[in-house]
Symmetry: C2
Subunit: 156 residues, 2 copies
């Protein structure tokens, strides 16, 4: 998009663009699995990044997860995330940037009546030049918070 | 996308595609405004539609609102919506389809600490051939639920 980047977003400018790579999922209740991921961060001149992620199975390419939302910086240094998940969940999180590593902890995860119980999400986005390492931990279905997804992405 | 439509989505198949048109916004606390809207519904073979909306000001084309989420049909006849808003809100709603009119009422609207107070959202999507009429009512900033947005869209 052609609008100049909102100044609040300067510390997150390195995230802008499309990222692709491979990840691994695990959880106490499931078999581990490998996936391919595409994640994009865009902007339109306002103090938020549009965020979208999609993953496909590494073995047969079937669609796995998608999610979309917004990474907000309503005031300099204040980072917030809102995400909708087709699993029937929505997520509100607050973030902290340490160097080029962004850590986000959910303040609210709530679902529709038919969604599985998810109570907490934590995300880490570690930017290292043209490599983005993404981790997600989740407390769900009566399990304590634990590592769920780890991916290493490169700028596409 | 090339996957066949999930059978649960059959009653909503008419929404699939890209819709464009013009709308009008109003609220007790603001001046009325006119906008251009683009809304898309896509699918990937799973029992939900991916939903995205963006609006621009009718007068000078500046970006106004965007939102994105998923319209779920986890079981036949059960319609649910999850949406993330860059205003810092997330929305969970349940829907009812009467003929080709979908009415959605929020069960949860929750925001980040810096978001304005929004307590309730109601949406109506009325499909009339290649015309989609969209209405959104909102209870926010201590105002009662009231009409906020009305748009008439055509299949792009």
């Amino acid at each position: 998009m052609s609008a100049p980047l909102h100044p609040n977003l300067a510390p997150l400018a390195g995230l802008l663009g499309t990222w692709e790579g491979r990840g691994r999922g695990e959880y106490a209740t499931i078999e581990p699995f490998e996936y391919l991921e595409t994640t994009t961060f865009g902007h339109a001149g306002k103090p938020f990044l549009a965020y979208a992620q999609r993953t496909t199975a590494a073995d047969d390419g079937r669609p796995l997860h998608v999610e979309s939302g917004y990474l907000r910086v309503p005031e300099p240094g204040r980072i917030e995330l809102v995400v909708a998940h087709p699993s029937g969940h929505v997520e509100v999180a607050v973030g902290e940037l340490a160097g080029t590593t962004l850590h986000l902890r959910s303040t609210v995860v709530v679902g529709t009546d038919t969604a599985k119980s998810v109570t907490s999400l934590e995300r880490t986005l570690e930017l290292d030049g043209d490599v983005l390492r993404a981790r997600l931990s989740m407390a769900a279905v009566d399990q304590p918070l634990q590592g769920h997804l780890t991916a290493e992405l490169r700028r596409a």
